[in-house]
């Protein structure tokens, strides 16, 4: 069920893996420079803790059917909560650590997985949420609907990324139409679950700390420091 997230070695041919590896490196370089702008000197500790959160959340299993359970991927949640730049860094680091320490996903397939989950998934999820931000800011119900759609689209688009990579350099002999139907069908179901959990989570956070939801933040007026005026009046 986490096919799109953790691709194994040998699923796509070496040139494709190499090309997507290069895209992943460039994408993450851009994301890391923009993440610094979003969080300034707090970048490292905040992103570290948000990444730990993503990692911990992926350990919580939700029931799908009796006997089968799945976990949250978290792409849309982090995109809406900390923004796409920090969010994509977090998901990418989770993927790297899982590949190196937990043998989750192939080492040579890291590039393709990062492009699918950390870049395409997070950014498309954020783009959907950003497009619906008017709705999200209007009411709680609007925010919940936005989060649901972002969670669903995030998963489906990540699986489409896999289908694209498979179409470019798939090492198997499967018909691309079959793969497309299978992957999109499967991930629409997973995406509905992801959407429901994303909506409930973002809704709960917005209820107690709306200031932590990146999507709801508005650029406020620049801070007006009137130190001189104050010191002048007191003297």
């Amino acid at each position: 069920m986490v096919l799109a997230m953790h691709m194994s070695d040998g699923l796509v041919n070496p040139p494709t893996a190499l090309a997507f590896g290069a895209i992943a490196v460039i994408g993450l370089a851009v994301a890391s420079s923009r993440a610094r702008r979003d969080l300034d000197d707090r970048t490292a500790p905040m992103a570290g803790l948000v990444t730990a959160f993503v990692f911990a959340v992926q350990m919580i299993n939700f029931p799908i059917l009796p006997g089968a359970s799945g976990h949250l991927l978290g792409g849309a949640i982090v995109a809406m909560l900390v923004g796409p730049w920090v969010g994509s860094m977090c998901i990418a680091i989770v993927l790297v650590v899982q590949a190196l320490l937990f043998a989750d996903g192939g080492l040579t397939a890291l590039g393709t997985s990062i492009v699918n989950m950390a870049l395409v998934g997070v950014f498309v999820g954020y783009a959907v949420a950003f497009a619906l931000r008017g709705l999200a800011r209007r009411s709680r119900r609007g925010l919940i609907i936005t989060a649901f759609v972002a969670g669903l689209v995030n998963v489906v688009v990540a699986s489409l990324g896999f289908v694209l990579q498979y179409a470019i350099g798939g090492a198997g002999g499967a018909d691309i139409g079959t793969v497309l139907t299978l992957m999109v069908g499967l991930h629409t179901l997973i995406g509905i679950g992801e959407g429901i959990i994303t909506a409930a989570t973002v809704g709960a956070i917005a209820a107690s700390r709306p200031d932590l939801v990146y999507l709801l933040r508005r650029p406020g007026p620049p801070l007006d420091v009137r130190g001189r005026a104050v010191s002048g009046s007191t003297s």
Partner: protein, 259 residues
Amino acid sequence: MSAGHSHPLYLHGSSPVHRLPAEVKIVAAFLGVVCVVVTPREAFAVFGGYLLLLAAVWAVARIPPGWIAARSLIEAPFVVLAVLLPFTGEGPMVEWPLLGDTVLTLSEPGLLGAWNILVKGTLGVLTSLTLAATTPLRDLLLGLQRLRAPSLVVTIATLMLRYVDVIAAEARRMRLARISRGHDPRFLWQAGATARGVGALFIRSYERGERVHLAMLSRGWAGEMPRLSDAVTTRRQWAAGLCPVAVALALAVTGLVTA
């Protein structure tokens, strides 16, 4: 923090493989998997060679093959696609006699494709498991640092690995607290409460991040993690670590030439 913080796939030991610097092992594992991936799928014997090579590494590292085998089941969900290929593929079909008159008709390219995904995926997982089993967390971060991974990435990964157990334990405590207050986690109905718990967990993680940041500042944080070790990796260590890669390369060349 320095002691005990190990990950579930680490197998404690002091073999030569354990003592090798992490960056050597990361590079060797990566290059080894690259060799596997470029090997043509028709070179069946070569894949057996890779398995023998890995078995030799396990012998040196004193990892019981059964230990690795039990953990390699992690791969199972990734190869779902492989199972479908022989049934959905086209081209020349192979007939497989089952019981009585039933004959299973399978696509030949599909079978080859499935074999390709299965064997390369398995060898990849076995390699990653070997790396994880012989490399503790701290060494891995040090290895990434020495491989010139961007410092921001290493710092985030360090903090993440230091706090992931704290946050996971917090999630467990929250679940326990919910249950002790009458929550009955069953089937779909638990999703709502669990998701609200995830929301609370995010707020706690974020606020912990703010506190950690202040604590780091008060201890002189200037935007860069201090170097964790001054040990220098010698050429001999690189040579020792890259030995299996040379064998893998020879195997890959054999495969490319013969197939």
